[in-house]
Symmetry: C2
Subunit: 328 residues, 2 copies
C-alpha cells in the first residue's frame, strides 16, 4: 500500500516534489492542488490531474500526507495551519525568526485535527539545522559556523531587479574561501558578515541605463549588499539566459570543538551540500519527511514537529532490520 | 537534577567518556566500574572513586545510564546484554557484520529489564551510519561512498606488531585523494579496495631484523594489506613516540544523487570528520546518546535502540523551544 501524497501549489517546489515522488516507489501522487485554473496545469505524472485548491478539504480521506509548496512570506503562515486541521502536512517554512510563532500556530491546528504537521523542512532550515544540533550536542565545547553558497539568492536577485534601469539580474552568494579554511583549521575565528560571504551580481541593464549608477546603488543597498564585498558584472540577456538560468545552491555547517580533560584535542565535523537545483533538493527532503509524518501519524502522534523530532529510521522505506544490516 | 552516569571499563574510551561528562553540566559521573583493583584506578574527576565491576548490580538505583566502554570482540557481546537487564545502557559495538545478532540479544535483555539499550554508538557505526541513511532517504537515486582516514587503525597496527622482528608499529589508513575528487565531482565511480584507500606503515624493527623481509611480509599480508597500495617506513622508537603517539582518525560519507523528472540535476551531500582523538570523539557521541537513552527511558520506552531510532532533540540539553529558536 503506497503512501498517498497531495501537493499544494505547483511552482518550482511543487514540481520538484512531483519529481521526487516519482523516485520513491512507496509513494504515489494523488493530485496537485492549485489556485489557478486546474485545467491549465499540465502535470508530468501520467494519469494525475490537478484539482482546485478550494476542494482540498473534500479529499481529506484520499490523502495520507499533504506537501505544502507555498512561499514563506504570505502563503505558509495561512495555508499550513488551515490544512493541518484535515491533513498530515509538511512545509518548508524558512523565515528563521518567525519559526517559533509558526510552530505555535500550526501546533494548535494540528492537535485540533489530530494530525502531524512537520514544518521548516528542507536544507536550511532542515538538514543544516540537524547538523547544528548534532554538532553542539556531541562537542559542547566549540563553535558552529554556517556558510551558504555558492548559490543563487532569489531575494537578492529580486532586490537588484527592482532598481531603475535593470531588466534582469542574478545574484550569487559565495562563501569566502579563506574563512572556510580558517574554520577547518580549528582556528575558531570571529568572522564579520563581510569576512564570511561575497556577493556576485550579473545584471542585464536596459538600453541607455546609467551603469555606474546601477553598480553604485547595488553596492550601497543596505542589508542586502552594503555589508558585503560585492562585484557587479553587466551582461546581455542572452548571456544571463545561457550561463545563469540554473538554481544551484549549497553550503557548509562546520562544528569545531575540543575534547579532553584539558581540552587538548581538536575535532572538526563538516556537513556540506553542493546542489544543482535548490528547489529539487528541498523537495527531496520534503518527500522523505512526508514519509516520516505519515508514519508518526499512524503511530498515533499529533501536533507540530520539526526535523529535531523525527527518528531518522522513519525517513527511509527500509525496515529497522534492513537499516541495521545495510547501513549501520 | 543531573543525569547520573556510570562508566563500565576504564581504557581509552572510558577515560574519554569521563572527560566528555565533565563538559556536560546536566550530567554527573557516579563511578567507574572496573575489573581491576578499584583502589589502583586513579580517576580524574574530583570526588569520584572506582568500584569493582561485580558490584554494579547493587548500584542500579544510583545510576540513570551506564556507558559500557569495553571492546567489541569479547567484552560487549557479554557485558551489554548483562547490564541492560538492570541499567539503561549505551555501547559502541562496532563489528558491523554482527550488529543484527548483538541487537537481538540486547533487545531481549533490555525488554526483560524494562530498560533502553543503545548500541553501536560512535562515528562508524554511528554518525556515519546516520548520514548513510539520510543520504539515501533524501536522494534515492544515487550512490553512497564511505572513506576512512587519515587515521590510525589499531587492528592493522597490531597485525604488523605480530610479525617477527617488529618491536612496534603504527598504521595509517588514508583515503585516495583522486577517488574522493571523482566522487565529489558526481562521477559515481566504481572503486576497488585499492582505489579507495592507501595504507602507510611506520615500523620500529628490532636490532638486526631483516627489514626487506618485514616489508615484504607486511605488503603481502592477506586481508590487511595485500589488496592495498602499502608503504612501509622504518623509524626509530623515539620517532614513533614523538611523531605517531596520537590516535587521530576521521573520514567521509558522501552521497551522490540525481533529481528531476529526467534525473537531470546532480547533488552531493558530504559529511566529514577530522578527529585529533578517535576515542575521545567516540566518547563524546556516547555521552550525547546516553542523554537520549535516559530521556527515552523516562518516557516509558524500552528495548534495544540505535542512532536510527533517536529523535535528534533528545541528544541536546536544550528544550524544544530553545532548539527551534536557536538552531532551526
Amino acid at each position: 500500500m503506497s503512501i498517498r501524497v497531495g501537493i499544494f501549489g505547483y511552482g518550482n517546489l511543487g514540481r520538484g516534489v512531483e519529481a521526487a515522488i516519482a523516485q520513491n516507489p512507496d509513494m504515489e501522487l494523488v493530485t496537485v492542488f492549485t489556485r489557478r485554473d486546474p485545467a491549465s496545469l499540465k502535470l508530468r505524472t501520467p494519469g494525475v490531474t490537478a484539482t482546485a485548491a478550494e476542494k482540498a478539504a473534500e479529499m481529506a480521506d484520499q490523502i495520507d500526507v499533504m506537501i505544502i509548496c507555498g512561499g514563506s512570506a504570505t502563503d505558509l503562515p495561512v495555508q499550513t495551519p488551515l490544512l493541518a486541521k484535515c491533513f498530515n502536512v509538511v512545509d518548508s517554512f524558512d523565515t528563521h525568526a518567525r519559526i517559533p510563532e509558526h510552530f505555535a500556530c500550526v501546533d494548535t491546528a494540528a492537535r485540533e485535527g489530530g494530525k502531524v504537521a512537520m514544518i521548516s523542512v528542507g536544507w536550511d532550515p532542515g538538514m543544516f539545522s540537524l547538523n547544528r544540533l548534532l554538532g553542539e550536542a556531541i562537542l559542547p565545547q566549540g563553535k558552529t559556523y554556517t556558510f551558504w553558497g555558492k548559490g543563487v539568492s532569489q531575494g537578492h536577485s529580486d532586490a537588484i531587479r527592482r532598481l531603475e534601469g535593470v531588466a534582469d539580474a542574478r545574484q550569487y552568494t559565495i562563501p569566502v574561501e579563506a574563512a572556510l579554511e580558517a574554520v577547518r583549521a580549528g582556528e575558531n575565528p570571529e568572522l564579520t558578515t563581510r569576512q564570511k560571504h561575497l556577493r556576485e551580481c550579473f545584471v542585464v541593464a536596459k538600453e541607455g541605463a546609467d551603469l555606474a549608477r546601477i553598480e553604485k546603488e547595488i553596492k550601497e543597498m543596505p542589508n542586502y549588499f552594503a555589508d558585503y564585498d560585492t562585484t557587479v558584472h553587466f551582461i546581455s540577456a542572452e548571456e544571463l539566459q545561457r550561463d545563469h538560468s540554473g538554481i544551484p545552491h549549497g553550503g557548509f555547517v562546520i562544528r569545531s570543538g575540543k575534547t579532553g580533560m584539558h581540552l587538548e584535542n581538536d575535532h572538526i565535523i563538516e556537513y556540506s551540500l553542493k546542489l544543482d537545483s535548490n528547489p529539487e533538493f528541498t523537495s527531496s527532503v520534503l518527500v522523505a519527511y512526508a514519509r516520516a509524518a505519515y508514519r508518526m501519524s499512524c503511530e498515533g502522534m499529533c501536533g507540530c514537529k520539526t526535523v529535531f523530532d523525527v527518528p531518522p529510521a522513519y525517513l527511509s522505506p527500509k525496515t529497522g532490520a534492513e537499516l541495521r544490516k545495510e547501513l549501520l
